[in-house]
Symmetry: C2
Subunit: 195 residues, 2 copies
Amino acid sequence: MDNNERGGARRAARVDARQNRARILAAARVRFAADGIDAQIDDIAREAEVAVGTIYHHFGSKDALLEAIVHDRFQRMADHISSLRDEMDAWAGVEQTLRYIAERQVHDRALKAVILSQPALREASAAGMREVLIPAIRPVLERAQAAGQVRADVVAGDLPLLLAGLPGSAAEPTDRERYLEIILAGLRTGGDAAY
Amino acid sequence: MDNNERGGARRAARVDARQNRARILAAARVRFAADGIDAQIDDIAREAEVAVGTIYHHFGSKDALLEAIVHDRFQRMADHISSLRDEMDAWAGVEQTLRYIAERQVHDRALKAVILSQPALREASAAGMREVLIPAIRPVLERAQAAGQVRADVVAGDLPLLLAGLPGSAAEPTDRERYLEIILAGLRTGGDAAY
DNA sequence: TATTATAATGAACCATGGTTCAAGTTGTCA
DNA sequence: TGACAACTTGAACCATGGTTCATTATAATA
């Protein structure tokens, strides 16, 4: 149902199969980003120029496909955020992180949906956030907290949630910028001089 | 399809009909609040102790029923918020408003969903927000802005959105409190001394 | 009480959209 | 160049859940 690299298996995956798998992933990324969680398998198949059955051959279910996409997204995001860890200014790291997550969310409705989803449902995908994205955010955040630049009570998991209401791609860029500034100001250690 | 008060009609609505209508509304409120937008008509019917057909007799469609509920919710919220307009301290008015909307959202998943929904889809319900809730928030907000207590660039429509990521009813109350404080701090006129 | 407009019922209907699988293709290896 | 496992195909299948409507029941009126 799922053929990763060389398992203990015999034959290597056929090259056409690998191409198709890639086409499906690409199409799924596009459609999930545009239509959100309820993008349709048929649409993905059409866009990938592949039959529905092929998708099921490679991924087994719609949820599994979504999970693959989303997990990959979280992984890439985590990598990027980790690279911000030693931004010269700790605060800048936090700001960059926020802006980056915001930008990702605006371009990907499915991602946004998963971030918002109750941990109960959509468990497989939500796990990717808990175990990949959040751990990447944590050091960036804590560094800024240690420097007294961010409220001490904030937790890494708060950041994605705070961005949940970010105006979508239809809205004015200035609306998004204002939203971000409000959140950033809220996070920054303010007049109440916590430290 | 919808029998409001006395139209130009002849007979008054039968009392059992009125009771059933009320039962349906009550059940729908409960189920939409608990299950969100995709609460099932059959469940609502069961909870109201009424046949599905009766719901359709009174409301015509699931969307219409949802719209009725949501519009009513927005109306009540608007009324409550308006009563805060002349809170002695302008800032307190804003804070109360935020806390009130937050509390409503946590208790009602459908409400939260509508607030988050792209204005495109779910148009009928979203209109209720635009035309009832937002206008009620505006004076409270602008009063605090005039007093220099809230960022000048914030708009009434921002407030519900900022609360979109608020941790749901499953989360610790302290998580919600922290979230609120961050938003409040972000709105408050801060060190950058706008005025 | 007889009449009737209005309301209630719920099994059947239907659209949607994910999933299956028997039949046919094709890359790869010997 | 076979031979075969791996892969692809897409029509058919099925579950879900909103909606219809012919039938039956009942509140209101005369």
